[in-house]
Amino acid sequence: MTEERNLTCINCPMGCFLTVELTDKEITKVSGNTCPRGEQYARDEVTNPVRTVTSTVKVEGGVYERVSVKTKSPVPKGKIFEVMKDINKASATAPVHIGDILIENCANTGIPVVAAREIKEA
């Protein structure tokens, strides 16, 4: 059976309009993408949708109260709220640098949560 699915690529604000052609649930063609990331997104979205989660974590002894964080790579969409639970339990101590690992393995995804901004000591 051949089927066609339309998606909007969310990898960047260009928001390319993607068309995925499937035959017997196998992807046969992806079109509409401006760059290779779009094709990867379409493949993931049809088979195993993933999202990067961004949030903030409490900081002790810093010039600000919170440090922004992100999952180092996208996590399965169904795990987003479990990842948030781990993020809300975590804390960091200043100074914090971009890329510092704040959670090693969030929600058992094997993916770390890293700091996404610099926080100097107060």
Binding site: N11, F17, T52, A116
Partner: protein
């Protein structure tokens, strides 16, 4: 305070990129003035990802993107002042600023780059009757509260307006445990990017009601509920379509306007459509030596384009103070937007002053499907590009070739149009 050749007003992504480019173009006397306690501008509160994919081939969050440019400015040894507010820019480019340590001071600049960004439309612009109880925030204020202060404004949320910041906040507050009941948009289309509708609303099953608006707010001290109704083509509420939503928070995401009080007072000519300065091919305003870029010029959705535009403005400011700017040739080509094209940046060009091909950025006033973006040199159609969809929420661009323009010394008008299939 010592004098500087180039004063950059605002230390957001536009100001940072302009400063770095001016320095690399040979100017050694540059000062960035920023009223906030840190560099980076509004990106500091935009903690979501999706920035810089095209510039750095990596998907960054707002603060990470800003840090790359902050690092560059620090490495280049460019001077900056934080917690310092520019109060006035005189037509002769004397910049008056103020802070706690220096008090009020003046700098006689040779060139000024306007990089003040934009601000949110105030809620007073909304005609909602009734009291103004607590619990009503602009989406940008809520973004700062949640992302910088770590404070959640409420638990049951309704959002009016589908601008990007509102969409991003719908997801952000959902992740923090709030229930976002609905996003209402008075227009028949969203003002935000498609990708944000997909990943911020659809992912969490948050309904987006197009052609709907808030017609009543309940609660005297604190907001308790709102009533939302469908609107007709005249944007007036349709009787019988009212639905009441209980909530403790109402976010307003009704658009951004460039922050141009300083530019107006300096006497810079403004474009009534963008609320930003009118600029030429060099991003120079009606005052020679005063340049503009980023959101103060026109509201951008993609920070990559802000950085690109700001780089040009910085280079041109350096050329101006170093006496390297190309003389005006006398040929002035005016750019017009017609049939759907609301405005163009730049507004006019001198082709002999182009250092490179010219990127013209514009926005449309409605949704167009399977239509063409056409470019006319005089009456001659030189470009006719098919687009699957063109929407008001997404900035468009066309690149005009310098050589093509130089071949037409008689050309006085370029028109951009949307033509239906």
């Amino acid at each position: 305070m010592k004098d500087y050749d180039i004063v950059i007003v605002g230390g957001g992504p536009a100001g940072l990129a302009a400063a770095a480019a001016a320095k690399k173009a040979g100017s050694d006397s540059i000062l960035i003035i920023e009223r906030d306690r840190e560099l980076g501008g509004i990106l500091n509160q935009c903690i979501h990802n999706g920035f810089g994919l095209h510039t750095f081939k990596e998907e960054l969050t707002g603060p990470e993107y800003a840090q790359r440019f902050i690092d560059e400015v620090l490495t280049l040894g460019i001077d900056y002042r934080l917690d310092t507010m520019v109060m006035d820019i005189a037509p002769d480019k004397t910049v008056t600023a103020m802070n706690r340590t220096d008090g009020m001071f003046q700098i006689k600049a040779k060139a000024v780059v306007l990089c003040m960004g934009c601000r949110e439309r105030p809620r007073g612009a909304l005609n909602i009757p009734g009291y103004r109880p607590a619990g009503i925030f602009s989406a940008g204020t809520a973004q700062r509260l949640v992302n910088i202060e770590g404070y959640m404004p409420g638990r049951e949320v309704v959002i009016l307006g589908s601008g990007d910041i509102g969409l991003i906040m719908a997801r952000r507050m959902t992740l923090e445990g709030a229930i976002v009941k609905v996003v209402a948009e008075v227009m028949p289309y969203s003002g935000g990017l498609k990708r944000n509708i997909v990943q911020c609303l659809n992912d969490f099953d948050i309904p987006l009601l197009l052609s709907h608006t808030v017609i009543d707010i309940e609660g005297k001290e604190h907001i308790k509920a709102v009533t939302i109704a469908e609107v007709g083509p005249d944007r007036k509420p349709i009787k019988g379509t009212e639905v009441r939503y209980t909530c403790d928070t109402l976010l307003l995401s009704v658009g951004l306007i460039p922050e141009n009080e300083l530019s107006r007072n300096a006497g810079v000519e403004m474009n009534p459509v963008t609320n930003g300065p009118i600029v030429n091919e060099s991003l120079e305003t009606s005052i020679p030596g005063v340049f503009a870029c980023g959101n103060v010029l026109h509201v951008h959705d993609l920070v990559d384009f802000v950085s690109e535009e700001a780089k040009k403005a910085g280079e041109n400011a350096a050329a101006f103070v170093l006496g390297k700017a190309q003389e005006e040739s006398g040929q002035k080509i005016t750019l017009h937007g017609e049939s759907g094209v609301r405005y163009t940046v730049p507004s006019h060009i001198d082709p002999k002053r182009l250092s490179d091909n010219l990127t013209v950025r514009f926005r449309v006033g409605d949704i167009y499907k399977d239509s063409y973006v056409s470019v006319y040199y005089g009456n001659e159609r030189v470009r006719h590009v098919k687009k699957r969809i063109i929407a008001p929420g997404e900035m468009e661009q066309v690149v005009l070739l310098k050589d093509d323009l130089l071949k037409r010394p008689e050309l006085t008008d370029i028109t951009l149009k949307i033509e239906e299939a």
